[in-house]
Symmetry: C2
Subunit: 361 residues, 2 copies
Amino acid sequence: MSADPGLASWLQLTLTPGLGAAAIRGLLKQFGLPENILAAPRAQLERVAGPAAAALQHSEETAAAVRNALRWAESPGHAVVTLADAAYPRLLLEIADPPPLLYAVGRLELLGRPALAIVGSRNATAQGVRNAEQFARAFSAAGLTIVSGMALGIDAAAHAGGLAGEGSTIAVLGTGVDVTYPRQNAALAQRIAQSGLLLSEFALGSAGAAHHFPRRNRLISGLAQGCLVVEAALASGSLITARAAAEQGREVFAIPGSIHSPLAKGCHALLKQGAKLVESAEDVLAELTAFQRIATASTRAPSPPAADEPLLAHMGFDPVDVDSICARAGLAAERVSAELLRLELAGRVAALPGGMYQRLN
Amino acid sequence: MSADPGLASWLQLTLTPGLGAAAIRGLLKQFGLPENILAAPRAQLERVAGPAAAALQHSEETAAAVRNALRWAESPGHAVVTLADAAYPRLLLEIADPPPLLYAVGRLELLGRPALAIVGSRNATAQGVRNAEQFARAFSAAGLTIVSGMALGIDAAAHAGGLAGEGSTIAVLGTGVDVTYPRQNAALAQRIAQSGLLLSEFALGSAGAAHHFPRRNRLISGLAQGCLVVEAALASGSLITARAAAEQGREVFAIPGSIHSPLAKGCHALLKQGAKLVESAEDVLAELTAFQRIATASTRAPSPPAADEPLLAHMGFDPVDVDSICARAGLAAERVSAELLRLELAGRVAALPGGMYQRLN
């Protein structure tokens, strides 16, 4: 990633205090690449992103943070993945608010694998912890990458189970990716940095603020094709993740338990709302046979860029509208629009007046 | 019931060896009341019901069984309810194969109340037994009559809970109503005979044959608006009852449990098939608000016969076809046909040529 000359601009965008993700998306939509945003006149920026955009233009503090992040990204195993990168997770492009960039430590290729989120209570029962670990182990052996939030209890057990198999695990943090939280999971974080992937949209060094965690939860569900809740009380962050999963069109799975167990009540609430009841790993795998096809495909090495962008093959080099691309590719408009945005940001296609797109290379 | 002069004919029909319920329904459809069947020429009977119908015409053995049943029905609290009786449960008329008659001991008026079936394993866990008893108690207090099968375990606990409240309980037996089975439930059977209702379609003195129990199960579900399974293994008679309930259009409810408990697996299988997950009595009552309206109505004393047959009000005294009655009454054709059969058997309406019906009184 350190070779990307545009990375400094992406970092400057996201490290500018007061400039939120929605404002950044608005600016990207209007101006294209981050370089263009940073070169635009202040008045134009403010029209799109409000007064906060003024802060984009010069700040020694932001510049220092950018230099620090660029230095950090030089270290082996560290990466910053932007919306314009081919490594940016496809599934995240489908969600309502994909983060402009992600800090990553570990095996970046895990972002391209089929994934299942497993979440649950920090105060899990011993049986719940064992269930999470054993289910994660079975899914990982079947080639699914386990996504969770590195919390104590169910999350930690899910990561541990994931690490035991081919699928491995992705931990999405509510802190900077270089911050170890909670402390009790320090050894687990180290194992994930080596054999899995630590991921965060928050700036390096960020402490875990309360409002980070619901934002983080949407990435846990967004990175995966489905979300399994193992044990959860009725008022639980896991239910926020499950709701995000449902809103993102992901399959929601829940493990039932005794009607007298407070930690089963969250799962039962989900089951009443239509989540799939899970007794065994097979229940999930049967539901996600599509996963397994993808899993088989993903065991090959990543393809070169051109073949890596199947949408380009459907575009030719003449201007074409989104509906035609959808029809040729057999994909939904939301998906195609998201892909086109990414390709535009990557300089592969140009947006033309009248909603037309043209392939550039 | 002992005052019914036609009862001997009903008993003779059902006590004739080799004549099954389907054959009896065929004969009733063809000839009307049982008296007409018994007066019909043997050749005509055999055309409808096959060679077994020959046995209808004279058998000292059957005559003795009829005399015995008539004598039994004279005792206080004993009754034989035929398809032609107003006391015959309305909901049973909706099922595919309503029994021609039912032997009953206890409070016959319970057949007119809103009811919920509760079934489950004979080898239930202590918690399962407690759940069954507590749920049944709550439903009974809410005015629902608890229907179950008098087996050990969940059934017995459900009956006990039902007896504690206003709704009371109905035990549907796979033996003759005068046979105590299983022995361990003798005291419970006595309590039900006094404050609830024992019910069976099988002849007095019948021992419990294996093929009786699936037949019996369809009555447990058929008598109730819904069926709650508390604990059940995968290969369990309770699942037969639940399947019958679903086929009869009744709501199926199941209580979840640990994925490691064999006795939760039957419930989980039902939940995967769309049964409603139940954590509390309120979950069921909320689903069955219609019940509660009926429950309120049923606390009044039974109305006199004429007002008791709302279908008659929709018929006038002119010949009318089934479709018109359906339209006037706002009921489905199956329901109206079943009611018309019952009213015909009761001598309240006459079936005319061309599928027309006429009210007689």
